[in-house]
């Protein structure tokens, strides 16, 4: 991720200030997509409950990917769901970010040896922040959202490169690891 703030980038007074302003606005109004998958989805809902209250940071769930900035992948992604997940990501408007929540979304977690589980959601979509845990506490998700906020605020708009989108489509194309075996 070369977009993270580094000391070497050239600073421009006018445009640089404008960048900072836009980034600040963006980082203060991250709207996640309502997309719950598994156990972590319940903890994701709990992050917006009165106790943790992520609304304090200007984050509200949007029901359609067109209006959302952040996708929180909260649970195990299997090969059947992977195509749908990818389509949702493609439907989101730029700029967009992905948080991988929990062990299953990170690398398959306890289910990674299974025949139908995708070993990590970063094989399908580019991930910005990873949260370990099974499931992570709501506070851990909030910490990840704040980490993402820092990342957005540090980004420089003029040097925006196309994001590296995984091209590992094997997961999406092949239904089974050896799906060509003869039917018994």
């Amino acid at each position: 991720m070369g977009l993270l703030g580094s000391d070497e980038r050239p600073r421009d007074i006018v445009l640089g200030t404008l960048d900072d302003l836009i980034n600040m606005a963006r980082s203060r109004s991250m709207w996640p997509l309502t997309f719950g998958i598994a156990c972590c989805a319940i903890e994701m809902m709990a992050t917006w409950d009165p106790k943790i209250d992520a609304d304090r940071f200007g984050m509200f769930f949007r029901n359609t990917p067109r209006q959302a900035d952040v996708m929180i992948v909260s649970g195990t992604v299997n090969k059947k769901l992977a195509k749908r997940l990818r389509r949702l990501y493609d439907q989101m408007a730029e700029p967009k970010w992905v948080i991988s929540m929990g062990a299953c979304a990170n690398q398959g977690g306890p289910f990674r040896q299974g025949y139908s589980v995708v070993e990590g959601v970063d094989k399908i979509v580019p991930v910005d922040v990873y949260i370990p845990g099974c499931p992570p506490r709501p506070e851990a998700l909030l910490q990840a959202l704040l980490l993402l906020r820092d990342k957005i605020a540090d980004r420089e708009l003029r040097y925006k490169k196309p994001r590296a989108i995984p091209t590992d489509y094997d997961v999406l194309a092949e239904p089974g690891k050896d799906g060509r075996l003869p039917v018994l």
Partner: protein
């Protein structure tokens, strides 16, 4: 039919093991006896063949019964009981999906959990957890005596004598 059926008592359930040809007839009999609540149908890979386990409860007096039948790998066909208990519809589809058991007469027998394009039945013991074939896996020979054969009738007098003799010596 009675000859090809083994009945035993396991914990609090009656367990019937039948020949696949008699499976449907026994299920019809049980439906007539008032077993109305289907709990589950489970497919089990026994190593020599596939086993179908149907579990039923009678709501009236809470009697529980289990019906088992074993079919060979090369012809895993079992008659469907969806018309007797509609609640087993998804369980039969699941058993087909996971083990390749084909239920004859099922209204809509297709994969339920995996996608239609999948070619493997992952719960078979010939595949490992990741869905790859286990090297060197061979089916076991069919058990002898056959699982549905009733045990030979005990001969109480001789058996009793033999036990006593064993204890004395």
């Amino acid at each position: 039919m009675e000859a090809r059926m083994k009945q035993e008592r396991l914990y609090d359930e009656d367990v019937y093991t039948v020949h696949p040809e008699d499976y449907r007839a026994l299920c019809e009999r049980l439906a007539g006896e008032g077993y109305d609540f289907p709990r589950a149908i489970s497919g089990i890979d026994m190593g020599y063949g596939l086993r179908v386990t149907l579990q039923l409860t009678r709501m009236k007096d809470l009697a529980k019964v289990t019906v088992r039948t074993d079919v060979p790998y090369d012809n895993p066909v079992v008659p469907s009981v969806t018309d007797l208990w509609p609640g087993v519809e998804w369980y039969e589809r699941e058993a087909y999906d996971m083990l390749g058991l084909r239920f004859e007469g099922h209204p809509d027998l297709r994969r339920i959990l995996l996608e239609d394009e999948w070619a493997l039945h992952p719960l078979l013991k010939r595949y490992d957890t990741g869905g790859y074939p286990v090297p060197g896996w061979e089916p076991k020979p069919w058990p002898d005596p056959e699982p549905w054969a009733p045990p030979p009738p005990p001969e109480p007098e001789e058996a009793g004598e033999a036990d006593e003799g064993g204890e004395a010596s």
